[in-house]
Amino acid sequence: MLVFMLQILINRELRQRRVYFSIILMALALTGIYMLYDDYSDIMTFVVNLGLLAFVRRKKFFIVTSLTATLAYILFSFFGNYATEAIFRTFDFGLDQWSGWLFEIIGEIIVTACMLAVVASFKFLQKRYPRQFNDKVALNVIVSALAVVAVAFFAITTAADNYNIGSGFLGILMLIMVAILLINGGTFIYLFYSYTMRVQSHRQALERKQYDIYVNNLESSYQNIRKFRHDYQNILLSLGEYIHTGDDPQLQRYFDEVVTNSQQSLTRDFGHFDNLERIKERSLKAIIQNKFSVARQAGIQVRLEANEPVTEIAIDPVTLARVSGILLDNAIEAVRGQSNSQIAVAVVKYPKMVELLVANSLRHPIDRLDELMAPGHTSKGAGHGQGLATVRELLDPIDNVTYEISARQQFEFIISIESE
């Protein structure tokens, strides 16, 4: 009965009227059989239990649950007896007529409690790792593992019955089996997880590689556009010189019209990929790319200057990423809502130093730069200050790094990183 109950609790698909009906039939039949012939009752129960397969669609899942239920029942009823005996011994109860009943009841209660605990933990596992429970491979593995265990157990009990092995020895055998089961389970889980982890990391590496290829393609095609734009602009300019030195006012007027139109589209901010290919330092590149796209979405003009390829910067990449992230966030925050908002980043290379400049247009002039850096200072108007204290905390202890702030026509933060 308990096994069936457990089944129904775990497997939602079994909650149908015909299932209940057939279970009652089965239970009655089984009880009848057991009254006549009690050997191999566990195996019988299990086999009959498998009859429920007819009602479910997810067969493998059902096998898993029924095997779990049967095994759990057998184990707990076995150890339940010991547990109840132990309880009786501690409370010094004698095993007379009525306490025999008590013994049975307490035993059943303990077993039921254990079974309920199994249900709960099964449900919990299912909720926590739904993917594994739907994964065909995983289910197959679990089914076969449980099947092996079940077969082994039935073999042991049958053997024990036939050769009249005492229950003490059987207990030891059971204990060994539980240990093996646990070890097996642990190994399996470990293998399974290390396998999934490997698959995952492999997939991530693949994605990363594809992304890099994508960015490289984008960069090179962007460079082509840039080159074309440059040539085109120069052709237009020198063409303009010819036309304006010539003596054809109609042509001049027409040319000016055409040029004003095309200049507008030419000077328009083309994308945040300008010069990005020159920044080889990965974390800095990622930050700039990310923040620039945020800024562009907010309608802010962005500009990146890098005159030479920048490969190595003598600073911890995490610090650099944090600092540049804060500075760019500040810049975006500061220009948000300005009519002609602009952000510019420059990576300037010197023989023995690299400087990172972050600049943004200013709405109001800033009078006291020294107050900006003070911890806890935030000036909502200019939007700076928040985070600048953090920047200072991060940069101050680094020997080869110094910084400058300036607020002339625009706000500028300059980080100078000397190569060591």
Binding site: N307, A344, D396
Partner: protein
Amino acid sequence: MLKTFIVEDDPEQLATLKQTITNHIMINDFDMELTLATGQAQELLDYVIDSQAMDGLYFLDIEYPGQDTNGLELATKIREHDVNARIVFVSTHSEMAFLTFERRIEPLDFIVKDLGQATVKAKVETDIRVAYDRYTKQNVTSKAMFSYSKGGQLFNLPLEQVLFIETGTSRNKLVLHLTERLVQYNGKISDETVAHPELFRVHKSFLVNPQMLVRVDKQQQLGYFENGESVDIAIRKMHDLLALIKQSQWAVKLD
């Protein structure tokens, strides 16, 4: 005589630029000449290296396709040989690296070609006037300069922008307070005191440009600057500072 130079690889644009500049010099009768107008960056570089003490005005393009040097390198080398060079970049908007050039070259101006010939002409003329104006004034009063170095790079600025130098929160770091700028750099305040005799050590952690003080509070022992920043003044130094202010007749309010 203020010497003017042009490097522009496009012959048409070079011709126009040349004409604009010569015309403007002639009309205003400035003491200037267009010394060299070329399409080759190297030609200008050779000229600059050969001659000494020039204080020239340079109109440079930024990209010279097919040549070894670009505008930034050319300008950097010009600065090395002609410290007071007034450099104007004339280029298309997409080639400009405003921040980078501002930081490395401190150019006089950027002229964006895309804005149309009329605007370019007007800006070139303005720059000629500004450069000429500075050139003539500079000969009267030679401006005091202040410099600090970072990563082997020397950064120059007029002394009148310097307020004071303060010891930083970390060892060996100093903070230079300018009128619109804060500069942190590596150094020791004792070394800076020796290196800049024009500055006055008012406190163990403050080295002040005394000309920039607007008010000295004798009671609180504080010195104030125009933007509201203040420095502590040590009692021992107060007397010397006041004497210096009196002697130099600076307009500092005392109370």
